[in-house]
């Protein structure tokens, strides 16, 4: 099974609504990152949260990390049609931060 599993697999919302995606992992981490992938494109880094951090914000993005539950969530507030993309969490393990292990992704569709 994967180090990172995301849920839901797919999410459809209207513009203006908030979108929440969750990521669970199995092994202790050094940091966790979220990436976005637009259709037919490469991944774009959104935010990095270290294992000793609990919450980070970047614009309309809010990421939380609960290391006791080995889970993270990404909240996109006031979503826009342009937020339509796949979102992936990626974990860097302690002692092996060169290697990112990607989750299964959440496909977000925002309807105008």
């Amino acid at each position: 099974s994967q180090q990172g599993e995301e849920d839901p697999q797919a999410l459809s919302i209207q513009e203006g609504e908030n979108a929440t995606m969750n990521c669970s992992y199995k092994t202790s981490i050094n940091n966790l990152q979220w990436y976005r992938q637009n259709s037919g494109r490469g991944l774009v880094h959104l935010i990095l949260i270290r294992s000793n951090e609990r919450e980070k914000h970047s614009g309309r993005l809010r990421v939380t990390l609960d290391t006791s539950k080995k889970s993270s969530s990404l909240l996109i507030t006031a979503s826009r049609a342009a937020d339509t993309a796949s979102y992936f969490c990626a974990t860097a393990l302690i002692g092996n931060t060169d290697k990112l292990i990607f989750g299964t992704g959440t496909r977000l569709q925002v309807f105008p």
Partner: protein, 114 residues
């Protein structure tokens, strides 16, 4: 001004052929990666080089051989292509080792093996 570039963008070839994908980054990073994304969008690391030294080598068939002529370039050569090699291959780069760092991805190369 593309940060991480890959060529070609699309590659269609017959089974049994040998092909290469090239990657270049102009970010001054010293670590580069190859990932494979399958049809279910699952992204898995294949190789990583730091300053031309191989540091990650996942369980990948030895038909796949990465080559890093310098720290700005990481190419991927694939011998005897098989149907299962069809996927999107992404190159990425990052700065430094041993510290949290983000990765910058190229646009991908869609490989189709017929």
């Amino acid at each position: 001004d593309t940060a991480v570039s890959q060529t070609p963008k699309y590659l269609v070839t017959q089974m049994g052929n040998d092909k290469s994908i090239k990657c270049e980054q102009n970010l001054g990073h010293d670590t580069m990666y190859w990932y494979k994304q399958d049809s279910k969008k699952f992204l898995k690391i294949m190789f990583s080089y730091n300053n031309k030294e191989l540091i990650i080598n996942e369980t990948v068939p030895n038909r796949f051989s990465p080559k890093s002529p310098d720290k700005a370039h990481l190419n991927l050569h694939i011998n005897s292509l098989e149907l299962g090699d069809s996927a999107v291959y992404f190159c990425a780069s990052s700065h430094g080792r041993g510290a949290p760092s983000t990765q910058y991805f190229g646009p991908g190369t869609r490989l189709t093996v017929l």
